[in-house]
């Protein structure tokens, strides 16, 4: 099962290496990872998407807690939360399919941020389902390049 784990860490040198190393050495797979400063000075929030059964997720959570720089670990999966990821997708276009690509971009409320003779770059923000649906529709035109930020997530309301 896909899990969304939010980790708050003290912003010390090497902290990302410690986390990445922990996943590698214990044989956990990271599907996506996004890091940035949090609301608290000196602390960063890392959103990690991992796939695994309940035992694996429990071990991941506990092993993350063991790292001295880890402040808080929350598995957001069972909670009400919002997930977002931004993707920049460069699609191959020609004069005949150009308008179809624009149409798809409009339906997904995404932004066209760059156009050339043979390519169009689209910026889309959304949760995993929406983004995957969008990418699937673009596939037939020929995707030249995809850049993703990794998923970030936040709990709805004031928590609990």
């Amino acid at each position: 099962m896909r899990h969304t784990v939010s980790v708050v860490v003290e912003n010390k040198p090497g902290v990302l290496t410690r986390i990445a190393g922990l996943f590698a050495r214990r044989g956990f797979n990271i599907d996506s990872l996004a890091v940035g400063e949090s609301e608290k000075k000196g602390f960063s929030r890392i959103t990690i998407i991992v796939t695994g059964d309940d035992n694996i997720i429990e071990q991941i959570t506990k092993q993350l807690y063991k790292l001295i720089d880890t402040y808080k670990v929350i598995d957001l999966t069972p909670t009400k939360h919002i997930e977002r990821e931004m993707i920049l997708a460069k699609v191959s276009i020609n004069t005949t399919n150009r308008s179809e690509v624009i149409e798809i971009a409009d339906i997904f409320r995404s932004k066209i941020v760059d156009v050339s003779e043979k390519s169009m770059t689209i910026e889309i923000t959304g949760d995993n389902d929406k983004n995957e649906g969008f990418i699937n529709l673009l596939k037939k035109f020929g995707i030249l390049e995809i850049v993703r930020t990794g998923t970030i997530a936040i709990q709805r309301g004031t928590g609990k």
Partner: protein, 568 residues
């Protein structure tokens, strides 16, 4: 008026003294030369010059295991630091508190492949509890304080501090913090009283409970609390390799050691139990065999300070996160109010296993059985000596045949299984316990991995007794090759290529002795143990003696090879 500034290397030594450090093991080099310059005048810290940095790490580890204090080692950057790696991994696997200090190239040169540069914090990240690269001299004192705190609290472990050379030269105001400022680090000490109550009630309702005592009991100095718990609960207790001595080996309720080379009576008891009370142990594969068939009818109460150990290998019925000493005290207090009835039938069953499957071997009158040599050693030392070991068959025999009486008297590499550990660990144990007899039980393979330390024990007249059970084989691997690889003895035969250990000892000005016949064992060991100085004893033993019982890797505990002490 501005406070007086102090050189970085001096600040480091002042910090160590604040932490109560009196002994360190180390080896100098270019990027720690400032620290050594200050050590030259230092009166309160004694530095022991080892002959290989690996030995410094193991010595700090042995110092810690035998005293409960944090062991300290010091090495230069690059190769000095990388030579500590095996020692750090050994301490990490066995949760031993130590602090390793390494020199690093000057701050501006880090990352430029400078002479003797190695990214030691990167290298040791997975084998330390935590590590630090100090980049600002103003952070040094705080870092040392945190390092010692992290090493000794919670689930203990090794911590490395990497200090660039410019920091040791520069000056700053020395200000040792009196408070720990680690908002992200708060180990749980006290166990949930609700869980503790449930645990005791579960013990009461079960018919066949067994206690497995682990190294956590030694880390938390809870041997007395365990003994009280056993007295109150009247339950059989097995001690893992990490916990030998927490309960008297020949005590009424003792099952001795469980697992791959544990006693058959411990393994049968655990297999037949309906409840395991696991305290400060982590269900290592050497204890459980195949997890799916481990203690098939047992519920589990798992007490551990590290939440990540709970549920890692086995799913507990009642998990209790907390320090062994605190949890056992609370449990004992509850049991005094709510006594547990003695499980008479179960104890009879356990006694029957004990009577049917004692530890035994075929005693020879022509060649020395290694087990016999250890029985004699045990008779002479009366459970009072600190025994360190290397890794292999000799280690398992020492675990089996020494009558372990006290905690912190058994110093052995469990999790990592590090050959070459025992001799330097014995040096550390001897430094921490100057009045004690310290014996390293070794194999002829293992002793050669850090044999250069004969120079160190000679140098400081550390009266460590090395006792080599010499079968001229890498015996544990040979045993596996005999049992599972059709007697194909690939790369294990040391005969004819082995040094004369007596001459080697004498070359280092260490007493060398040898026994080749059973009747020589006692006088030789007596002479060795009575000598006021280091000794190396070469005991030439039966070459093809195997360690039994044996649960083959991935096997089931009650299906042992040689549970009568021999095959068939």
């Amino acid at each position: 008026m501005a406070a007086e500034k102090m050189k970085g290397s001096k600040i480091l030594l002042e910090c160590l003294k604040k932490e109560g450090v009196t002994d360190i093991f180390g080896y100098p080099g270019g990027y720690v030369i400032e620290i050594y310059d200050d050590l030259y005048d230092e009166k309160d810290i004694k530095h022991y010059l080892v002959r290989h940095e690996q030995a410094a790490a193991h010595a700090a580890d042995g110092y810690s295991r035998s005293s409960g204090k944090v062991g300290v080692c010091l090495a230069t950057s690059g190769p000095g630091a990388t030579n500590l790696v095996t020692g750090l991994a050994t301490a990490h696997m066995d949760s031993i508190p130590m602090v390793a200090i390494t020199g690093q190239v000057p701050t501006p040169s880090i990352g430029s492949d400078f002479f003797q540069e190695a990214d030691i914090t990167g290298i040791t990240m997975p084998i330390t509890k935590h590590n630090f690269l100090v980049k600002d001299l103003n952070d040094l004192a705080k870092t040392v304080k945190h390092a010692f705190h992290i090493a000794r609290t919670g689930r203990p472990g090794p911590v490395l501090i990497d200090i660039p050379k410019d920091l040791t030269i520069n000056k700053a105001v020395f200000n040792y913090p009196d408070k720990i400022d680690l908002p992200t680090y708060n180990p749980t000490i006290k166990g949930s009283s609700k869980q503790i109550k449930s645990a005791v009630e579960l013990i009461k309702s079960c018919k066949k409970p067994v206690v497995i005592a682990g190294g956590g009991i030694i880390s938390s100095h809870a041997s007395q609390e365990l003994r009280d718990f056993i007295k109150l609960s009247q339950l059989p207790v097995a001690s893992t390799l990490m916990a030998l001595g927490v309960y008297p080996y020949d005590g009424e309720f003792s099952l001795k050691m469980p697992g791959m080379h544990g006693t058959a009576f411990a393994n049968h008891t655990i297999h037949e139990s309906d409840l395991i009370i696991a305290i400060g142990m982590r269900f290592d594969d050497r204890i459980t065999g195949k997890l799916a068939t481990f203690a098939p009818n047992s519920k589990i109460i798992h007490i551990d300070i590290d939440p990540a150990e709970i549920g890692k290998n086995v799913a507990p019925t009642i998990p209790i996160v907390g320090d062994a000493k605190s949890v056992l005290s609370d449990m004992n207090a509850y049991i005094i109010e709510h006594p547990i009835d003695r499980k008479e039938e179960w104890l009879e069953e356990v006694n029957a296993y004990r009577a049917k499957y004692p530890l035994s071997y075929d005693k020879s009158s022509d060649v020395i059985n290694p087990q016999y040599a250890l029985e004699v050693l045990n008779e002479i030392t009366k459970g009072d000596a600190i025994i360190t070991t290397e890794v292999g068959t000799h280690q398992m025999w020492a675990a089996q045949y020494i009558n372990h009486q006290n905690p912190k008297h058994w110093v052995s590499s469990g999790g990592l299984g590090t050959m070459g550990y025992g001799f330097p660990a014995a040096m550390g144990a001897q430094v921490a316990n100057p009045g004690k007899t310290v014996v390293n039980v070794a194999g002829d393979g293992s002793i050669q991995m850090n044999i250069q330390e004969l120079s160190t024990v000679s140098n400081y007249n550390l009266p460590v007794k090395n006792i080599i059970l010499n079968n001229m084989y890498l015996g544990m691997v040979r045993q596996w090759q005999e049992l599972f690889y059709n007697n194909r003895y690939s790369a294990v035969d040391m005969e004819g290529k082995q040094p004369d250990f007596v001459k080697v000892a004498e070359a280092y000005d260490v007493m060398g002795l040898r026994a080749t016949k059973p009747e020589e064992v006692r006088p030789v060991l007596e002479k060795a143990l009575n000598h006021d100085g280091p000794v190396m004893v070469d005991i030439v033993v039966n070459r093809e003696e195997n360690v039994y019982p044996m649960v083959p890797g991935g096997g089931v505990l009650n299906k042992m090879m040689g549970q009568e002490g021999r095959l068939r």
